[in-house]
Symmetry: C2
Subunit: 340 residues, 2 copies
């Protein structure tokens, strides 16, 4: 039984630094592509046996210290009443723009509406048999709202910002509803067996710090406070938030995810000894030589300077064209160089 990931989340000392990779189950692995070639991405998310299989692949192939549920942050948004498609990025046919649109959204019952997610978690807990812990996850309310309002990815996210600035009642009603959905969804994941929860706020960093604090922080805080957290560490990753970590910290998670633009040592000084951190290698470093990867792993471990409460990870998801052997090498370097 490898508990190093959970121990590090709680700031306990570990024999060697635990490591996993965001998007570790994914297109860079030929074993994933073999399964993915037979179905669409959404079909894969909705097939518990296959989703469990691709979740376990990187545990065996890379030797990481945690598994993360294979799914998509938008999975629970579909039963709110928005038809989801991938082309290749996520697309909602009918984006949310008005109060009437918000009022039409329903709050799903996760066990009835996304049963495949809970079933995947139950299969995984059996099959992993405590070999490594299982992380569940969800999108932060703001990032989900970004996709729901824009209808797809955006360069400047002007529709959601326009709503935020000019129709705060609509924005707040939407954020409130998403927060309730998220709370039900993540608590259902915990009930099904998730042993940690990561909240992804991919787009939180598009906001000025005072806007993040005013428009986003209250909802993420409410979400985190509403989770049944006993023994379940919460990891909060806001991409592009290096500038405003003390504000993000107020949301109350146990672990702060760091992107690669943030210096890990400086972040730890800012956040204090009681908060664990996760990160933060630039994913593109995995395109480089073994020597370069090792040097960069060592740099990050040095920045952490033996403080307990560090989970090694990338600063964002692994990229589809990265050679798997380089990811394996990275994991090996983290374990070898951090051995106490």
């Amino acid at each position: 039984m490898n508990n190093s990931f959970l121990d590090a989340c709680w700031g306990k000392p570990v024999e060697r630094t635990p490591v996993w990779l965001m998007r570790q189950a994914g297109r860079y692995l030929p074993q994933y592509m073999a399964i993915r070639s037979k179905c669409t991405f959404l079909e894969l998310c909705k097939s518990p046996d296959l989703a469990a299989e691709v979740t376990i692949q990187p545990v065996d192939i890379l030797g990481v210290d945690a598994a993360i549920l294979f799914s998509d942050i938008l999975t629970p948004v579909e039963p709110m009443g928005l038809k989801l498609d991938f082309n290749p990025g996520p697309v909602f046919e009918n984006p949310v723009r008005t109060m009437a649109d918000v009022e039409k959204l329903r709050i799903p019952d996760p066990d009835a509406d996304v049963p495949y997610v809970m079933e995947t978690i139950r299969i995984l807990r059996r099959e992993l048999a405590n070999k490594v812990p299982l992380i569940g996850f969800g999108g932060a309310p703001f990032t989900l709202a970004c996709y729901m309002v824009e209808g797809k990815g955006s360069k400047d996210w002007s529709n959601i910002k326009r709503m935020m600035y000019s129709a705060p009642d609509v924005f707040n009603a939407l954020m409130e509803k998403i927060t309730m959905m998220d709370m039900e969804y993540l608590n259902a994941q915990i009930r099904a067996g998730a042993q940690a929860i990561q909240i992804f706020d991919t787009w939180g960093g598009i906001l000025a710090p005072h806007d993040y604090e005013r428009y986003v922080l209250p909802y993420t805080t409410k979400l985190i406070n509403g989770l049944n957290r006993q023994n379940i560490p919460i990891i909060h990753f806001v991409k592009g938030a290096g500038n405003m970590l003390p504000i993000v910290q107020k949301a109350g998670s146990d672990v702060m995810g760091l992107d690669w633009q943030t210096n890990l040592g400086t972040a730890r000084d800012l956040l204090g000894d009681k908060m664990a951190v996760q990160g933060n290698l630039d994913p593109t470093v995995l395109y480089s030589s073994n020597e370069y990867i090792e040097k960069e792993v060592k740099r990050i471990l040095d920045e952490n300077n033996n403080r307990p409460g560090h989970i090694f990870n990338l600063g964002h998801g692994i990229l589809p064209t990265i050679p798997p052997e380089n990811a394996i090498h990275m994991v090996e370097c983290v374990h070898r160089l951090s051995q106490r």
Copy 2:
């Protein structure tokens, strides 16, 4: 003669805070669209009379305190030997990937190879007749390298980072050549009459701080040191650099451009009294009501707290769908609320 922009660049007291907008000559103005409808974007850049006309438009329409040359950061890259097209973003048919590609690049003679840029500047100095100062500009070496290596915009910029990490000799040779080109180009703009220079590093923030310091800072520093700066303030804008302002400051510019994710007050504390700053309203705020715009202008002026050396601007370029009357209102608010 309105010198408030230049005075603020040098940290001198001004009667009211000067203001201009990145991309102030552009698609949100119907007067610009009227001209642009008759030619392509590149044809407009290469027609001195038309380029001068669209440069002056926002000075008259918005009442801003500086004009900025209408051109594109990639204009001087074309005569290096890369065929440039817009579709709608910039596209180079033959991206730079190998040392042989770098060796083929030539360093243009700006007066011979981009004569239309220098001619536009000369026309503008005559027509502006010192009503407001004229800003010249160029891309920072790293941002130009990003486009030259990727061949177009990118989500993860993996080709340039791969080159940086795995073929540093090719990367350094390319950066060296771009730096020489940039130096000739910006000095030619100064000779032609540009009264300030802004260096745009749109993509500097995709790098971890230590990577920026190692791979980018030496070249931007060399560029700035190589400019004939007597009486010509240099503005350095690195988007996404809020995390690493003290590193960016080492490049030696007179003014630091700030994006909207950076708190202006905190940035001024970090950068010290001797460095002026420019920024930093989120462009999407210009979609909101007059009252909201006024409140946000006031917030930024309050963050500056009457320190000399502040040029008001957006935190990035104005967006094509913003109502011009909102930009006019923003300029009016800056002038009214900052009146000493």
